[in-house]
Symmetry: C2
Subunit: 681 residues, 2 copies
């Protein structure tokens, strides 16, 4: 057992594999910040109590749990929240059809309510049996309770009872592995420690917190410009415009070359949209088409299998990394592209067999497909991220795969799935293991569904309208087919108005959200969190998979279409309804409803919320006019964060900590010499 | 390369594992019969052309295919038929949610239209890439066809083209494996050869071909008797009555002890139902409850993990096998039970993590959970089957898992899934690799749905009404909830009449079906077959996953609820509509419709179909009154099979081959001295 960072111990079993998450990490641990966390004197585990067993399948590790351990994490689990009692195989897969562990972003990190975490430093598809399966026990006979005949699943599970709590981890195909034990002492500190060990939370470009709109995949340059104008004409706040496959000459796979016939003047498009306050984001994946200018150079540093006739670059080989990065820098980033949407870097096991490279592929680095699937998103992000860092620019981008140690990447996960509850569950779960996720909005089954989806997206890391398959904004026509047929709804302006309320709520919260992200960057504390992370000793929080904390002070409980009301659990303390101001005592479950313009939010007593006058888009010189709103008496000061919003100069100290007091004073501390926040008249 | 049976070559790579399908085979190969198949001079493959690669994941084998190879098989694949272009991981799983290879009964055997088969002799979850993934080729650049921008899956796949046809097999966790190459020379002979190598096709008890009705799981003895009487009163043919969990004191897991309070006089129940012509089949699974009389004896010969608090006996250990078999024999089979429904011996990965034992379990034999999952169904069948063989009795039973070499077991696979097209696809696919399957009927979404489902079930290996979760026959109320509420449909007698037509069709076809099963037993030719098996050179048959051959002469094309008509492909030759007698030339696709009483069937020109007068149930002394029906002119003789229907005496030559001629003559050859078939007046 070796201390590898403050409060983190490494236990090495046998001979670990050559390729691991830590070996391929993009960022160094934030050791200094970790040293400021509560000191952990002793490792939360003593491996003398564990069993390890090498088998033909791999390596098995048995860890006895305390009766009170409740487990969370394992990456972007869309199908369940509390992992206790479940078995998860962490396979990279964009179509999690069931609660099996398949995920866009499986992460072999698990967190306990008892304030510890375990990180299995492996790129394998690790299985976690979280007290899910019981071993035959000596006293089974005595313990066999009376049971009735079960004829359905509910009957069956009513009869189940755990007699022994064991975490069993199986790392396939290996003879050894490193396991990291992460101390807390409490759950949120264990999470912070893991994120700091990863390199700290990301700080996205400030504009990345604005509203995103991805345009129809078949649009040409003029049509994109028309949409850009339309959003401004209609006063729909929007910062980022996304282009889908059609910008390229080839897709699928990708050429990374502008398609003349659709986009004859790409520089003009970049400049014109920039002049309107937009930042341009380009869709792509890494599978490189034979006609791409970088194909030849990538050929000997790519995997043995094609995907979509394209190469799969091995980004762990410097030549592949540099070829890909340099081309993107020179052709796109240097010309004003501000971010990318890195698609298809997860697998898609349940759609078509050959959607991605097979697990058995071999890569030039010596990794196989299983290992590279786990690592692919992280290395792809690192490659693209490096092109911005070269220009001292932050991005806010999108990606469809991530793994361990990903928290420093300002890339937000997304999905082609679309169940609204799964999407909200993603926001609840992402924070345990250093991920960001957007419950993006596309079409809708009803106007209510559209508004409810947009509201939840606005209170998430990325406020994304992903209209890639519809040619008009969804609020003009919610139905995909009619939308593309040009048949707008009669009352679309009314629906647009409801959506605008949600967009403007987002823009009001930008200073608050940016402060939450700054804290993420500085301390590793996730900006969006499951309630159990803040109240790990309150068992009422253990199954809350549709409400979450946004920053430290706002509890969000999205509504879902077709549900006239919902239950909200309020933990210890006093809570203020954001809209009515009604005060509730904590430690109770209340039933709430909300008008179509409201997403239920509850604000902690004593919170001073700095609400901004909504802007249409965020520039480097944007100044936010704040109206402080006090929830309760004796409000605490509000802390805000001020920097240029786009560079890494903050790492050199160029940022301010801004304090807003209840009596309406703004003061700032720090070396950033530009004012971003003023009080409204 | 070693010849291990006529036309089968074994190739051994490295050091194979200790536990394999052949080591645990229940039956010896039928070498004498195999010698009568067309002689294969040369192995269909030369391993000199293969690549094998040991990796950390296991063993990889690359086999170049011919351009014309089209691949089928891999066990009970419910989600697809033609495997070319697909990747399948053969995992034992009762909930195949997608076309991934997950299956109740995955079998590592693949068959080609070019008349060969490959059997991977492993209990591992083998992956087959059936020309699904393309390697990076030298000429990719030149070959990159023009493509348009794809924005949906259909676009994408329209652009795909295979440039190289490779079968890549990955056997995980092993350092060696045996691969068997099976010669044809044509597809049906390769299938026959595999089945004969497995020990030949099964010959179920004759009554097993009758209609099955499984009674409501909460019924007590009186209620079962009431149902038995009801079916007879209503003239619903029925041979087998199934009891569900409620017969036992404990379920889940199982005690194998009659529950006094519900079944106070089990022997009376057995005797009374037998007197009415029923055979009694009992539900169970192998997970043994602590209160079971055999628990203590099984404890040290079971897996390390509990399932449902019960033991998982390791049937490869003689003590476990004998304990389980002897108890079943003494307590149940000797007392008149004629068969079992072996439930839950597949896994259930997508429902709950602990539905079955984990893959990483260890068993006393040294197998792990992955290996034992593959073998579990086969060994469980062997154990139960042995109890009947001891009494020189055949069974016809039900099971939810099987693997390689299972064709001699008269156990029919079933599922909790319920998509009607998937169910019919199962009938199409089961025959490639020695399996039987029933598209069982439970509830229905409409009266039409009920009738269409029953029709397809009647033209399958097991004519099963599985009313385990409804207290009344589904034709009295199709809706599950209303059925259990006792609210019968107003017009149920009308619907019952439609169903009775289907039941009686089944009973008319018993002699024909029994002859097809006798051929299965004698030659390995499956009684139900995909069209491609009989017409492997006709590419129009390659994607036919909803029509199949029943015996040699009847082509079945089930109707599905909500579809007013359907397409049917008729291969080479002339075909007669079973109902109208209308004649069609082959090599064409026709569109047909069918009244609610008809399931489309097309009979080969020149077929003499021996239709029986329907009986209500089949006894050892049942004599079938035949009415021959001639389809076309110059009809071929019909061959029938005659034996006692219940013992293995046929293996001693006690059977007759009965010939029916177009001019109405019945002649018989053989040593069985009882007459089963007479001509109707």
């Amino acid at each position: 057992m070796q201390v590898i960072a403050p409060g983190i111990w490494q236990w090495t079993i046998g001979q670990p594999e050559e390729h691991t998450p830590t070996r391929h990490r993009a960022f160094e641990p934030c050791l200094k910040t970790m040293a400021q966390l509560p000191k952990i004197e002793q490792c939360p585990f003593d491996p003398a109590n564990f069993k390890t067993k090498p088998t033909k399948r791999g390596l098995q590790i048995e860890i006895p749990l305390a009766e009170s351990d409740e487990l969370y994490g394992l990456g972007l689990q869309l199908k369940s929240h509390r992992q206790t009692g479940k078995m998860k195989k962490l396979a990279v897969n964009s179509d999690p059809v069931a609660d099996t562990g398949d995920s866009h972003a499986p992460v072999p990190v698990i967190m306990s309510t008892n304030g510890w975490g375990i990180f299995v430093n492996s790129l394998r598809y690790v299985t976690f049996q979280c007290a899910s399966n019981q071993k035959v026990s000596a006293n089974a006979k005595a313990a066999s309770a009376e049971n009735d005949i079960a004829i359905n699943t509910e009957d069956l599970y009513a009869q189940k009872q755990l007699s022994e709590k064991l975490l069993v981890i199986e790392v396939p195909h290996v003879e050894g592995v490193e396991v990291m034990f992460i101390g807390g002492p409490d759950m949120v500190n264990a999470v912070k420690r893991y994120n700091l060990y990863s390199g700290g939370g990301c700080l996205p470009s400030l504009w990345g917190l604005g509203v995103w709109y991805r345009a129809f995949g078949r649009f040409n340059q003029d049509q994109v410009m028309d949409m850009a104008k339309h959003l401004r004409d209609r006063n729909i706040p929007c910062d980022v415009l996304g282009l889908e496959p059609g910008w390229q000459t080839k897709a699928y796979s990708c050429s990374y070359v502008w398609a003349d016939e659709r986009f004859p003047q790409p520089q003009k498009l970049i400049d014109d949209t920039k002049a309107m306050g937009y930042k341009l984001n380009l869709w792509e994946h890494a599978f490189t088409h034979p006609t791409s200018p970088i194909y030849d150079e990538l050929k000997d540093v790519s995997g043995e299998y094609e995907v979509w006739k394209g190469l799969v670059p091995d980004f762990t080989i410097q030549k592949a990394f540099d070829t890909f990065a340099n081309y993107h820098d020179e052709q796109l980033v240097s010309k004003g592209i501000t971010g990318f949407k890195l698609d298809e870097c997860d697998s898609s096991d349940f759609v078509y067999s050959d959607w991605s490279f097979p697990l058995l592929s071999e890569f030039p680095s010596g990794m196989d497909g299983e290992q590279y699937h786990s690592l692919f998103g992280n290395k792809y992000m690192q490659c693209i991220d490096s092109t911005f860092r070269k220009h001292n620019l932050r991005t806010c981008s999108a990606v469809r795969n991530a793994h361990a140690l990903a928290s420093p990447f300002a890339f937000v996960l997304y999905s082609d799935l679309y169940d609204h509850k799964d999407f909200v569950r993603g926001v609840v779960n992402m924070g345990f293991t250093g991920l960001l996720w957007t419950p993006e909005v596309r079409h809708a089954t009803s106007p209510e569904d559209l508004v409810r989806r947009i509201q939840a997206a606005m209170l998430s890391p990325q406020a994304l309208i992903n209209a890639w398959y519809i040619s008009n904004p969804p609020w003009k026509q919610i139905d995909r087919t009619l939308n593309n047929d040009g048949q707008m709804m009669d009352n679309w302006e009314e629906l647009e108005a409801h959506c605008r309320v949600a967009f403007e709520l987002r823009m009001q919260l930008i200073p608050y959200l940016y402060a939450a992200f700054a804290e993420y960057q500085q301390t590793g504390k996730p900006p969006f969190r499951a309630l159990v992370m803040d109240w790990p000793n309150d068992s009422e929080t253990y199954n809350l998979d549709s409400q979450y904390m946004c920053g430290d002070d706002i509890l969000v409980a999205p509504m879902f279409a077709g549900e006239a009301h919902r239950e909200v659990y309020l933990p210890e303390g006093r809570w203020h309804d954001y809209y009515s101001g009604k005060v509730y005592d904590g430690k109770q479950t209340i039933t709430v409803t909300a008008t179509l313009d409201q997403i239920p939010m509850f604000v902690k007593d004593g919170t001073l919320l700095p609400l901004a006058k909504p802007v249409q888009h965020i520039e480097t010189d944007t100044v936010f006019e704040l109206t402080p709103r006090c929830f309760g008496e004796n409000c605490r000061d509000a802390k805000l964060y001020e920097d240029d919003g786009v560079t890494f100069d903050h790492q050199l100290g160029k940022f301010n900590t801004v304090t807003l007091t209840a009596n309406g004073k703004l003061t700032r501390e720090g070396d950033f010499d530009q004012v971003r926040y003023v009080l409204a008249d």
